[in-house]
Symmetry: C2
Subunit: 203 residues, 2 copies
């Protein structure tokens, strides 16, 4: 009986290891996760890991490459539709959030990179991705009339920042008084503030 994707046995355990390691890294970070924990959760013996990965760090590298959702997210932003800027930004943010929602931990992966590896891979990643997204905001500035005259780089950066800001405050404020007061649709309101600001009157 072959697997539904006809994976070899080795591929299956390799993915099991990756998945177990990914979840453990999310919980405790890289250095606080042991190979024994990974082996346990992946359901194989300690030594068995080394039939599939030559070191602990190689597992992390594989995760960075495989689990990072930018390949799914990038086309969503590039293809976002909308007659008005509101619709466009809203749809792009919506698509991005729903994709991030499937893998919300990817941001934490970035933080692990920053904290435990000084962001070596992230810089490379950004340098690869940024030139692809930037034109979207440049076009936005040119085409849309009701957009205030911000530099495209600022628009991109604050767009990305909106997600980081949302996610970080989500973690940091969880369990606090602020979190208890937080309305349900709080991300919607983040997008709203990004679009319209907190003030009633325009500048």
């Amino acid at each position: 009986m072959p697997t539904k994707e006809t994976l070899k046995k080795g591929e299956v355990t390799r993915l099991a290891i990756e998945d177990a390691a990914f979840r453990l890294f999310m919980e405790h970070g890289f250095h606080a996760t042991s190979m024994r924990q990974i082996a346990d959760r992946a359901g194989l013996a300690l030594g068995g890991i080394y039939n599939h990965f030559s070191s602990k760090e190689e597992i992390f590298t594989a995760i960075i490459m495989d689990k990072h959702p930018y390949k799914q997210i990038l086309p969503l932003i590039l293809n976002a539709k909308g007659d008005t800027v509101e619709e466009l930004i809203h749809n792009a943010a919506q698509a991005m959030v729903s994709e991030l929602g499937k893998q919300p931990d990817f941001l934490k992966l970035m933080f692990i990179e920053i904290v435990e590896f000084n962001g070596e891979h992230v810089n490379l990643l950004v340098r690869e991705v940024a030139p692809k997204i930037l034109p979207v905001f440049e076009k936005l500035v040119k085409v849309r009339k009701n957009l205030r005259p911000f530099h495209p780089a600022i628009l991109l950066r604050s767009f990305l920042g909106m997600f980081f800001s949302y996610y970080i405050t989500e973690i940091l404020l969880s369990g606090s008084v602020v979190a208890k007061l937080m309305p349900r649709n709080s991300f919607e309101q983040f997008v709203d503030i990004y679009l319209h600001g907190i003030l009633k009157e325009p500048a």
Copy 2:
């Protein structure tokens, strides 16, 4: 010859340990930093640390409490003046940014918290600080007429998020194409977007 602040010898080494640990944590994170490294950089023997701290984690906790600039920042926000909401937010943000500028590493401290401690220590901090800042935004909602009807918690969270967003993208995008395009007064524009949004027309 007494020290300029007449500190006891013990206080001096305690601070030396804290400072050495702080810098090492910034470089490698918490778990990848060893007590021996801390002792070396602080210039004392391994065992000596335990005359001042009862565990490695206690050093981290002390750092969170001592190095966190909220003690300097909180009064700046509480005392921010302004006849309009624009002025008020602008002045508060300005004061906060200039204070954060003096200790930019504190954000990395927050990342270590998120990655290696799941925000345990920060929760305590937030629970202490939030009840003090929240009323500022509650009052803002009540008193100022030109404010859109957001929940105070949302206003606070997106206000804080503005800084995280600014600094994270600063770190992540540094050296990239985006950074080269970035205007000088980019933080000013973050505040601007927070206040007025990216659109010309109001909702």
